[in-house]
Amino acid sequence: MSTLYQQRFENLLDSLNAAVQPGEQFTLGYSAEHSQFVRFNHAKVRQAGLVSQASVHLRLVREGRQAEQQITLGDDPELDQRRLHDALTQLRQTLPLLAVDPYLNLDDSAWHSHSLLEQPLPELDEVLALIEREAGDLDLVGIYAAGPICRGFASSFGAFGWHQANSFNFDWSLFHANGQAVKANYAGQAWSGETFAARLRQARDQLAHLGRPAITLKPGSYRAYLAPAAMDEIAGMLCWGGFSAQALATGNSPLQRLYNGDAQLSPRVSFSEQVSGSLSPAFSDEGSPRRDLLLIGEGRALERLVSARSAAEFAQEANGADSHESPCALSLAPGNLPGEEVLERLGTGLYISNLWYLNYSDLPAARMTGLTRFATFWVENGQIQGPVSTMRFDDSLYNLLGSQLEDLTQEREMILSTSTYGQRSTGSSHLPGALVKGLTLTL
């Protein structure tokens, strides 16, 4: 398995190099996975399957014009070569119909990158047996996704990148009979049955806190602690155009006022795109080596994510961002709050484990709304009193990570994306928890 995908990609690349004509340039992206998906409900298997998929994304360039095509590969070298050549022919016929693209900006360096991580994955039988042993009597619901993921890139300029890793992601919830639930996750590249069992037991222990009667709060401003998983939802909103050079230049970024210098966050806040050490490929979908970037330093806007196209359009320097200019490994620097002191420092207020379904109620003001979900507790004098019924918040980032931010935790969590839209994600975030003086609840 270890070199099979790379060999297929290289064969396609050789075939493409032989087929291109003088004056033509290309980039070729590759994506493949062989995935095992097992859904659970009531700690039993609700749905199970295997998915084997691979695709290439070809961009053809000639005389300042460009067009792109993605094709699914069929696991048959001859058929796949034919499909790639058909795509080349279609793009070749398309280019003369197009105007010269003034924002065409190719990375013409011949960079090389290679990463192969092939830690063994568990047999499904082992996973099922552990779940049965540790949670068979519980109401467990969730999904186990596992298998190799590959990303490749090559260009007619000689650039070549390969990223391949085995990974697993078990994302689950345990439900109490009263409808309250605790959320948990075990994901990575190195599987340990002991660690998995410990995570299952930890979630079981947390479930015990949910048995107390639910507390209903009135709208208003509350002192609150946002655990790293809750912070991940807020960080996810910032990935939605927040740092994008295009969005910032065209009035579509929620961090427009920060980058314009009209607003700032707490000096405790420093966000980075921290690709090195993450699970993401070291190269972007556009075919440039990614860089670690300090996006916000001590509350002030610094670098932005600039794709090659934005660089040409807005006269900036490209810095290895993906074409959609979203972070793939967002990191928030830690603070000074020791994790074991969170409840004591919170005193009286909300302990929020997870947030859900965030969106902007006023994007230029970075004002966002969303809901509590899973284990959210009311705390008095540092003691958990009971779970809190679902509440909606509506507040500005300039409050939550600005004037209202009291501290961030010393410890951070590496959160691996559970997204499987189209394909399994390689994205991640590295975040501390946040203690805030006031979070506005509205419903």
Partner: protein, 480 residues
Amino acid sequence: MFDSSTLLRQRFAALRSTAELFSLRHVKQSHQSLSVRRNVAEPPFFSQDEGAMLTVRVDGVEAYAATADLSQAGLQRALEQAEALARRIKASSLLDLSGRPAPDGRHDHVSPNFEQPLPNLADCLDLLAAESASVPKDERLVDWQASLGISVVEQTYLNSAGAELRHAQRFVYPGLGVTASDGLDSQSRSLGRENFGQQGGFEVIERCGLVGAARRVADEALQLLLAPNTPSGRRDLLLMPDQMMLQIHESIGHPLELDRILGDERNYAGTSFVKASDFGHLQYGSKLLNVTFDPTLREELASYSFDDDGTPASKQFLIRDGLLVRPLGGALSQLRSGLDGVANSRACGWNRAPIDRMANLNIEPGDQSFEKLVSGIEHGILMRTNRSWSIDDARNKFQFGCEWGQLIENGELKGVVKNPNYRGISADFWRNLSAVGDSSTFQVLGTPNCGKGEPNQVVRVGHASPACVFRQIDVFGGDA
């Protein structure tokens, strides 16, 4: 059309299996995405995707394997992988599906005007470029984009009980968006895009009204930039169809999905405030509320003859005169719950398994013209075009925002307001429905972006609705 059918049929017939039932769902889709942004054509993007999902039932346990290797050996290998997986999970399986009826029969479903040629790529780009160029020169207009997406999907479902169900469909997504900014605030106005998609040919672009719309859309973005914020307080709320579709989607569609009610989605998409025992009993809305699952409006985005499990689709009332009568549940969920449902077991492609989804979920027209709806409001607000959506995991507490707001006082439309937001609770909101627009206010809309499921899936859904009025809703604006 259906060029692969003969070969698929032959290969399916040659498959060998000991499973009590097995099926093949082959999906072939192509997509073309064109866009002109700020008068510059973006690189055209094309995609070609093809693969098949083999599903088996062994000793009452179902499992699948999805592959893009459509050779005889590739299909046979996937079938055997699915069989092996079904045996492996038997001891842990939630469901025993022994004896579950299998679909049979043969049928073809084709989109309206499927074979009508569309304008060629150069003509499409010219059309988009002309719209882009129509945006007036104004330094406050900082971003604008005209776009056109076209998807063609052919799907064939075959099973060992003899079914052969084929769909050939074309989906068209025109769009236009303009952003105005003064450096501190930004306001956007759009047409189509995520709010409009239909099956068909060039007539979809005409129905969307894309051609010649750029000046008006740009002017509305500038009006919003200069407008005051939406005032806070309780007002009667007149929602136009391009916001009604989101309201229907989030606070009727998702809560009525039977797999959520059965708990499958509790870890991701969520659960529902609706219980299985509510069907036939719960007064979901006022007596003016009539909601249908309707796969028969041919141009609507999710019209089809059979769902992806092979169940024949027909129009059904989910809510009649405000009373909740039927869930959105496909054949499997119906078997598990004992409730009658609809044909809504759907997958986004060959590499994802069908689950309960919305398809076309519509509100039936009432008897009031737009003028009558407005004249019946003393202190209210009109909102159109969704831009923000958020709702809790039980699909109850919601907050939605629109691009465009216009106050209504003493039965007359007044000034434009920006950042119009409103919030409420699904279980109460629909009981405040006080007037339903007639067919002159009715629009067939849809979005390609409904996400759900583990593993995740995005599917097309259609929503058709008249304009509707809701009494005494909590509305508010933004900070800027």
